[in-house]
């Protein structure tokens, strides 16, 4: 009887963690605005750099950010990766593109999904725009944007990525 048993060297013991997230002033403002379809950044009073999502302070200068700016939903690809493995608990099917995107008027990137594109054609400097969920599905979440898709605009030179005005790239070239 006992000699029929397999040797047990380990058992699965899942850990579940549930947190209450206290957003703080900057992220709370961002989340309440994104629920209305607005992308709200904050400018550092010292270095003038614009953060989105704002965390309430500029980590470079160590000062609070208070001045708000509503940014457009157009962005530039700063870099990206084509991922061939699934994300835990996420239904998205590989291969998919996670891009580091900088919104027009912002000076820092965030990551988001790119879609409606040929993976092999995605490139640094490419122009993209948000594709939003239907308004009735909007929540306090960056997931209100389903993904970003390519825009038919000329690429941004690398030196200009992260330095575009709120008016965007084409506005820049007209100036």
């Amino acid at each position: 009887m006992a000699d029929q048993q397999d040797t047990i060297t380990g058992i699965d013991v899942p850990v579940y963690l549930k947190y209450n997230f206290t957003a703080g002033a900057g992220p709370a403002r961002f989340l309440s605005q994104v629920k209305n379809g607005k992308l709200t950044g904050q400018r550092c009073p010292r270095c003038q750099q614009v953060y989105i999502p704002p965390r309430g302070s500029c980590a470079a200068c160590g000062v609070a950010t208070e001045e708000e700016l509503v940014l457009p939903d157009k962005a530039t690809v700063q870099s990206f990766t084509i991922v061939s493995i699934p994300i835990p608990n996420n239904p998205i099917k590989p291969p998919y593109i996670i891009a580091n995107l900088v919104l027009d008027g912002a000076n820092i990137s965030f990551i988001h999904l790119m879609s409606e594109c040929v993976n092999e054609d995605v490139r640094i400097g490419q122009r993209v725009q948000a594709v939003w969920k239907p308004e009735e599905e909007w929540d306090y979440s960056m997931d209100n944007i389903r993904y970003f898709k390519p825009l038919d605009e000329p690429d941004v030179p690398v030196a200009q990525i992260g330095k575009l005005p709120v008016s965007g790239w084409e506005g820049m070239s007209d100036a």
Binding site: C44, Q78, S79, V83, N90, I111, L113, M142
Partner: protein, 387 residues
């Protein structure tokens, strides 16, 4: 001015996918006992214990240092746990060194570990934040865009990462403790391996390992009496910077440059490629070799890949500055221990005790670790001579 301190004992476990014959306590005990044996001392000779590991969520054991006090002989002794993400093995060794350099302790034991087979590192690193999309695809997903940007800037040929992947596995094949034993690996095989996080291929990534590393660090008087040659600690430095700020230089982080400048100044190093005999550097994805060659001042910005392609960092090609002769993180990656392994392997080199991966005549070596979003850096320089 700090007192002199030296590594007088080193102990490691054989790195492997799954150590199901021991608990976490058994794993750290094994490395610690090996270090004590190497130093020729017993548990009673230790004044304090400094322990490090990566995030608790990896194994789901919260504050494991409490659970491990018995296994590490800490009863009645000071013990401290260090945590700086992936760089923790390095910073743990530095905290241990500072205990001795301060003069407060004569001889300390330091241990770092990870038992990845009991964990899900990708899950543990992917906890959602409400203001961001939940797209964290593990460490590779984070570092791949940074590598892509390095490739763009440097115009390096595509096979630099492939060459590092082969070179470090060939080094690892000389080290019986290394997890991956691939003496037959080829450039073609790496190139054909699965593209996980473009541009990072499967064989350009580190494995997932179980393992622990330990060191005994002693003051000058005790080190002079030690049976085996000590590795004198000639410089120690830590730096950090925020993960995210506008204008952050992610490819060549300022904190890494500052940390290197500090540790070199202490060790009297003005040209790291010339003055150092070898380096153990935290390279979990192959392209980080050329990137860190530049960040650490071994090559001008944009030219690190040339050293790699010339074979300068290869033991097998007779390079002048071998990097990761032990096989590096690409050959063994028990995450929390990986930084300490770099520090310990640097010490093995200058003790002349590195076996088949010994760099001939090594007198001065760099140990390096980085962690988080390449924002925590820990480095030391160890030498065969006191000064």
């Amino acid at each position: 001015m700090a007192n002199l301190a030296a590594v007088v004992g080193i102990g490691q476990t054989k790195y492997t996918t799954k150590r199901d014959d021991v608990s976490i306590a058994g794993l750290v005990r094994e490395a610690a006992q090996n270090a004590l044996d190497d130093a020729g001392i017993g548990w009673d000779d230790i004044d304090a214990v400094i322990l490090g590991k990566a995030p608790d969520m990896f194994e789901g054991v919260i504050m494991p240092e409490i659970y491990l006090t018995d296994a590490l002989g800490c009863n009645g002794k000071p013990m401290l746990r260090v945590h700086t993400a992936g760089s923790v093995g390095g910073s743990t060794a530095l905290v241990a060194a500072s205990h001795v350099q301060s003069g407060a302790f004569n001889r300390v034991l330091t241990v770092a570990f990870e038992k990845q087979s009991e964990s899900n590192a990708m899950w543990a690193l992917s906890n959602p934040q409400p203001f961001s999309t939940h797209l964290n695809a593990g460490a590779g997903g984070y570092f791949a865009p940074i590598i892509r940007e390095y490739m763009r800037r440097s115009n390096a040929p595509d096979d630099v990462g492939i060459k590092v992947a082969v070179k470090d596995r060939l080094h690892g094949a000389r080290n019986p403790l290394a997890h991956l034993q691939r003496p037959d690996i080829t450039m073609e095989e790496v190139k054909e391996s699965f593209m996980l996080w473009d541009p990072i291929r499967f064989l350009e990534s580190c494995p997932s390992s179980d393992g622990a590393c330990a060191m005994v660090i002693a003051n000058e008087e005790l080190a002079e009496q030690s049976a085996k040659p000590p590795a004198w600690i000639r410089g120690v430095a830590m730096r950090s910077e925020p993960t995210m700020y506008a204008g952050r230089e992610e490819v060549n982080p300022q904190a890494g440059k500052d940390c290197a400048a500090d540790v070199y100044a202490q060790a009297g190093i003005t040209d790291p490629r010339r003055d150092l005999d070898c380096a153990e550097v935290y390279v979990p994805f192959s392209w980080y070799e050329p990137m860190w060659l530049e960040n650490l001042g071994f090559a001008p910005e944009g030219e690190g890949w040339k050293l790699t392609m010339e074979g300068a960092t290869s033991l097998d090609e007779g390079g002048d500055i071998p990097w990761n002769p032990s096989g590096g993180v690409l050959s063994s990656n028990p995450i929390g221990a990986s930084g300490m392994i770099r520090f310990a392997e640097a010490a093995r080199q200058v003790r002349g005790d590195a076996g088949d991966h010994q760099v001939e005549g090594a007198r001065l070596a760099l140990g390096h670790a980085y962690g988080g979003g390449a924002q925590f850096f820990a480095m030391w320089v160890v030498g065969a001579d006191k000064a």
